[in-house]
Assembly symmetry: C2
Homo-oligomer: 196 residues x 2
């Protein structure tokens, strides 16, 4: 979990600052090799991924920090209820944007031209397939309400239709297809269709 | 703000679902051209960026959704205090991971090989420089506390040292350099140094 990932480090620093570092048991994994034990918990195959004491996986360094912020007795380090929340979130997103750009640049610098470019795109596609398969299994949990998560998912699926229609993401995913077809009919979705 | 960005769409859908869509005045901008009015509000030059009634910019679609969730009288769509928060955050991050992979793939598909690969890396570097310049201006606001935002920033700067030492990010940014040198001495940072 540690190694060269700045996102994993962010989580470990956060835990240490809240005095709960020793409650985390790091497991080293190379996400690029998509180890089954990581993919099982997080189909994006990304680090950090945190499995809590109830066996629930927390995904993305921000979500993990928010979870760690609720453990132990130390003061909150991510006070998302008080007046400081917007400046803190703003700066977090800016700083995280640096990380994103740096990691992208790092990965670019390791790649050689054409064949690897295709391999890289194929990797992104495989990531997409893995997460869609997970959502196909979870389709019953999605429900029909519009919330942060369902909105994000619906937009993601519509974006695949918009940019990568030939992929045929619906094939073999009847429940997710049905869920999306229904959600797409919401006025909020109809009013924001991607350009043709 | 709308156009082809699935992240912008996510924000607009979220606003519509909470009945406050008409309180948002969309401005179309091409983030790849780095228009000054966008970069001023968000040095990452990314859409969506939301400027609220107090002139404060909210960055990143998740942060914007959390902010919109506090406006108006409708029920919360991103209930980050109740028992649903972890499954909601988990699914949000998974869905957003699809978006990230799809957008990356899309941008890859538009690029041609070698010279553009270098241009792409240069673009990531320029993004990094812009955000660092912003933090140099904001150095007094950072303080010495470890919170979600300062932890993320410190990890980002250390990652630049780790992977892109030749960039010399400290040049012309004395206040940020000083802030980072101090923050790096925290036990939590020392205990998580990147491998040499």
């Amino acid at each position: 979990m540690v190694g060269a990932s700045p996102y994993a480090r962010k989580v470990l620093v956060f835990a240490a600052e809240r005095g709960i570092r020793d409650r985390i048991e790091p497991i080293t994994a190379n996400p690029h090799e998509r180890p089954p034990e990581l993919v099982e918990e997080n189909p994006l195959s990304k680090v950090p991924t945190l499995v809590d004491d109830d066996g629930v996986a927390h995904i993305d360094s921000l979500a993990i920090c928010l979870y760690l912020d609720t453990l132990g007795e130390a003061p909150s380090l991510a006070p998302l209820n008080g007046p400081k929340r917007w400046p803190i979130l703003r700066r977090h997103m800016l700083a995280n944007g640096i990380l994103d750009a740096a990691v992208t640049r790092r990965m670019e610098s390791l790649r050689t031209p054409e064949p690897d470019r295709l391999a890289w795109m194929e990797r992104q596609l495989q990531t997409t397939w893995r997460v869609l398969d997970r959502f196909e299994l979870l389709a019953d949990e999605l429900g029909t309400e519009a919330e942060l998560d369902t909105i994000t998912l619906a937009c993601a699926l519509s974006y695949l239709d918009f940019r990568f229609a030939d992929d045929g993401w619906r094939s073999g995913r009847p429940r997710l297809s049905k869920w999306h077809a229904q959600f797409e009919q919401r006025p909020s979705m109809l009013a924001t269709r991607f350009p043709v």
